[in-house]
């Protein structure tokens, strides 16, 4: 015993290895009125780690707007639920699987997909779309290639096999992720509003049923691992990574949905992080009841598993349910048909305790409220860094004559080039409802057997967040909103996946607090609430934290799919117009980063009034069929957006722009802007309407056959742009 203040029988290092602090352990002892046994210690460790308890983030997350007229279920359940008319709901969530994916990229990413899929179908929804948000280190870092290939392989391997299309996502490379990649997976499902399933256990004496795969020794302490920083020995943590089996998940999905058609399930919860522990406690806590489990009845893959191992295993593809006892046999038949385990392992009790027995011996007895309500909650100290200041650029350094050369350099850069190499490894068309495939602003998926669709987009600009966490937080929310608008959909709600460094450091906590504040402001103003989410802290290696990365997944509704919009230029001889004000903001831009190799300046700020006004105008025009193509202006500015429209439409453009600093105008990253292609005849009318709505609207050129041309600067072939855009990933991964 090294520390003299340690007054307990339990070995101090044992407690520390469970990721618990002295005061937390003291709290356990006080709550129980005794010291916990090993199994109980493991259970507390699993429930009280950052990943499961949200102890550092809870206080701040409560500040986010979570309600709205279309919100059916906000945060707190397995996934958020929004109303999409006609008795249909969309069920969605994004979740991180960062730590395991760094240790073992293929399985880490695969089980990330598997986990988020279960969160969605647990609620009675059939998953219809997968997306992701990925961050890797510098492409020059020795691990990046291996991690990229592994993660993409894992996401594809799982999603393709289970047969849910992976329709979109985003990928960034930055050296701040060299030691901590981010793998955030999102799933959207569709259900009927009156057929949503929740996790609150009910009905004293009702059977608690285990279904799915057998339990093995994999993933023990996965959630605890995910709540700690990495060091040189992080590779040794491989055994804590789970192994996925998408085939079994497919069977589990079909079996659950089949059973959900019957009135048999009272409560259902997937076994994700902290497996049997968190699922059983969650169900009991939500239902304000107790649960008794006979662990010897748990289907086991390995011999002689202990109570401790059974409770902490994170074996995949498992669910826990409370069933109507009269439906038990019918339910068993369904699971047997799908060749899955089905075992009654316990019952609902009125003790409000989690009681575990094994071979008739009591292994644990813990009041649920100590585990849940009394879980530690911290208001961690934080400091807010001054946002990086505006930097005056040396105008002599910005040579307009290099614009086309700069464009080629940017469009072929890892952070702006085509992601085709990735999405061609994902089945993005299975289920035959993918209306807009990857590569546009948002993916659009039809609601099966209807003429409506949902538009989905994931986004975040970590450099914006690093240099101004408040504006960066706002931006991440707004960017998805804008993507959804540009697809012709009404943005409804978001899920957030908050990836940050160590929250015990005031500076990191400050980033978190400011991102939340920015997100909250944007969500409120845009009537775009948060309905689900996840927090991943401790993304640090050897004391170096990642850039703050609040990845956002937004969902919108297209009531009539004929209004679906894409970014690709459609015709020759149309006009190209800019919507929204340009103020030549080059601070923190892709231009500075890629062309000038500088990360300087201020994050562009967003005027939310302006954002709302421009967005409404764009959506209105799309619904009135006035645009041929729409693309929001984002990373890289106007010229990158236009080049993408040109590349996807295989059409050229001819720009005639009368501005003093063309480089700043074309690569500046001012917010709240869109590029649109319109037919010549509608220009005058649109100009008037824009004026009426006080929306800035300006013509900058027209479309043509195959040359990408800027007056007084020069031209290049669209084919050359395509080549530049599509070559990097293939070369890098070869």
């Amino acid at each position: 015993m090294t520390n003299s203040i340690w007054q307990f029988q339990t070995d101090q290092s044992l407690v520390e290895n469970h990721g618990l602090k002295l005061d937390e352990f003291t709290k356990i002892v006080e709550g129980l009125g005794r010291e916990p046994n090993l199994t109980e210690l493991g259970i507390f460790s699993a429930m009280w780690n950052e990943h499961c308890s949200y102890k550092s983030s809870k206080f701040w997350l409560k500040k986010l707007p979570t309600t709205g007229e279309r919100v059916v279920q906000g945060p707190g359940e397995n996934a958020g639920v929004i109303d999409i008319d006609d008795g249909d709901v969309a069920v969605f969530k994004m979740e991180s699987h960062n730590h395991p994916s760094f240790i073992e990229p293929y399985q880490g990413a695969a089980t990330g997909v598997g986990g988020i899929l279960r969160d969605v179908f647990t609620m009675g929804a059939r998953p219809v779309a997968n997306l992701n948000a990925l961050r890797f280190g510098d492409p020059g870092h020795p691990k990046t290639k291996h991690l990229l290939s592994g993660v993409v392989g894992g996401i594809g391997g799982y999603g393709n096999c289970i047969g849910i299309p992976t329709v979109g996502g985003e990928v960034n490379f930055h050296s701040s992720y060299n030691g901590n990649i981010l793998v955030n997976a999102m799933t959207v499902g569709i259900a009927k509003k009156d057929k949503i399933f929740y996790s609150a256990a009910a009905g004293i004496g009702n059977p608690v049923v285990y279904v799915g795969s057998k339990t093995g020794r994999d993933g023990i302490h996965g959630a605890t691992m995910a709540s700690a920083e990495f060091d040189e020995d992080s590779e040794d943590k491989k055994p804590t990574v789970q192994v996925g089996d998408p085939f079994t998940e497919k069977l589990l999905l079909e079996a659950c949905l089949e059973l959900m058609k019957e009135e048999a399930i009272i409560a259902i919860q997937d076994m994700g992080a902290a497996g049997l522990t968190s699922s059983s406690i969650e169900m009991a806590s939500k239902g304000n009841v107790g649960i008794e489990i006979d662990l010897s009845k748990v289907p086991m893959r390995a011999k002689n598993m202990s109570a401790y191992e059974l409770m902490l295993s994170e074996s995949q593809e498992r669910m826990l349910m409370v069933l109507d006892p009269t439906k038990e046999e019918m339910a068993r038949k369904i699971f047997k048909k799908w060749d899955l385990e089905f075992e009654v392992i316990g019952k609902v009790t009125d003790t409000k305790k989690l009681v575990l027995t094994m071979d008739n011996k009591e292994e644990a007895s813990i009041p649920i409220n100590i585990l849940v309500e009394d879980a530690p909650e911290y208001q961690r100290e934080y400091v807010v860094n001054e946002p990086s200041p505006l930097v005056e650029l040396d105008h002599d350094e910005l040579d307009d004559n290099n614009i086309l050369e700069d464009l080629l350099k940017m469009i072929s850069h890892p952070n702006l080039c085509s992601r085709k190499w990735i999405w061609e490894q994902y089945d993005h068309m299975v289920m035959a409802d993918t209306i807009v495939r990857p590569g546009s602003d948002a993916a659009v998926v039809r609601v099966h057997d209807t003429n409506k669709g949902i538009a989905i987009s994931t986004d975040c600009s970590p450099t914006y967040c690093k240099h101004n966490s408040f504006e960066g937080g706002k931006h991440a929310v707004v960017e998805t909103w804008r993507n959804i608008i540009a697809s012709g959909a009404l943005p409804i709600a978001i899920t957030d996946c908050m990836n940050f460094g160590n929250p015990e450091k005031p500076e990191i906590m400050g980033q978190f607090v400011e991102c939340i504040r920015g997100m909250g402001e944007a969500c409120s103003k845009l009537n775009y609430p948060v309905v689900s989410g996840n927090v991943s802290f401790y993304n640090e290696t050897n004391g170096e934290g990642i850039y703050p990365t609040p990845a956002i997944g937004g969902v919108g509704l297209i009531k009539d799919l004929s209004n679906t919009m894409t970014i690709s230029l459609k015709k020759e001889g149309s006009y190209i117009c800019v919507i929204g004000n340009s103020n030549n903001h080059l601070g923190n831009s892709q231009y500075l980063s890629i062309v000038k190799n500088k990360e300087i300046g201020s994050t562009p700020s967003i005027d939310l009034e302006e954002e709302l006004k421009n967005g409404k105008f764009v959506l209105n025009c799309i619904e009135q069929n006035k645009f041929e193509a729409v693309h929001d202006i984002a990373d890289g500015g106007l010229l990158i957006a236009l080049a993408e429209m040109s590349i996807y439409g295989k059409k050229g453009v001819n720009l005639d722009i009368n501005k003093s600093s063309l480089t700043e105008y074309l690569f500046g990253e001012d917010q709240s802007r869109y590029l649109v292609e319109i037919s010549k005849d509608s220009f005058e009318e649109l100009l008037l309407e824009a004026e009426k709505d006080k929306v800035f609207f300006e013509k900058i050129g027209f479309t043509q056959a195959d040359q990408f041309e800027i007056k007084n600067i020069g031209k290049i072939k669209v084919e050359e742009l395509i080549q530049a855009h599509e070559s990097w990933f293939k070369k890098f991964t070869n």
């Binding site: 393709n160 096999c161 289970i162 047969g163 490894q425 993005h428 035959a432 209306i435």
Partner: protein, 223 residues
């Protein structure tokens, strides 16, 4: 038209094909669970795409031993039209209804994208309507191979149903997505009533999905 779609554990294009058949023929197919042993009188049996048994062991190998497959083979031999798409193609090969083998893609990675195919001959009910058609592929193991003896045999018997080509119908190397021998995308049995193909016509059977070229394959034997 009475049609049947076989459902294996891990099938995931069963619903997609059922929707296409219903849209085109007006009649929804009957879904047949793989543990059944007989299929009712049928005008068309579909072995759909997906990952039957998770592609474990070898794609299609475990599914080919499912109870229902005995009756599929019997009906195929009796002349009932049978079509296997993607994993269905792999299952028909594993069931010895079709010649050849489907190896891993030359790139060693999963490929999901639109390709063009053209029908090599119009001697079968499946291929008589299709000239050049665009539709998606989505597979890991679609690299078709046959021994040179067998190749000669299937060529002589006009059993090559489709070949990968470019949008103008040129069968060349750049238009071959997976390394298939002779750009072969689909093959027929000797009697021409069994078709296996890697591309997914059911995912290209509606304009709103970007392309409806896939319809021609269904229409050729439905109408």
């Amino acid at each position: 038209m009475k049609s049947h779609v076989i459902v294996f554990p891990g099938s995931n294009c069963d619903r997609d094909i059922a929707v296409s058949i219903k849209n085109i023929s007006g009649n929804a197919p009957e879904m047949v669970w793989h543990k059944e042993t007989t299929i009712n009188t049928s005008d068309l049996i579909v072995v759909p795409g997906g990952f039957s048994y998770g592609d474990y062991l070898r794609c299609g190998a475990i599914a080919s031993t499912s109870p229902i497959m005995k009756d599929v083979v019997k009906k195929a031999n009796d002349g009932v039209p049978v079509i296997g798409i993607c994993n269905g193609f792999q299952i028909l090969i594993e069931s010895s209804l079709l010649d050849g083998a489907l190896m891993r893609n030359e790139s060693l990675s999963f490929i999901c994208k639109d390709i063009f195919i053209k029908s090599k001959n119009n001697s079968s009910i499946f291929t008589k309507n299709t000239n050049i058609a665009r539709m998606p592929i989505a597979h890991n193991e679609g690299n078709y191979f046959v021994s040179s003896d067998q190749l000669k045999k299937i060529q002589d018997n006009e059993q090559i149903a489709f070949q990968y080509c470019d949008q103008n119908g040129n069968v060349d190397n750049p238009s071959n997505p997976n390394g298939s021998l002779k750009n072969i995308a689909g093959v027929l049995n000797k009697q021409k009533n069994v078709l296996g193909m890697m591309p997914h016509p059911e995912r290209a059977a509606e304009k709103i999905l970007g392309c409806d070229d896939g319809k021609s394959i269904f229409e050729s034997f439905i109408n």
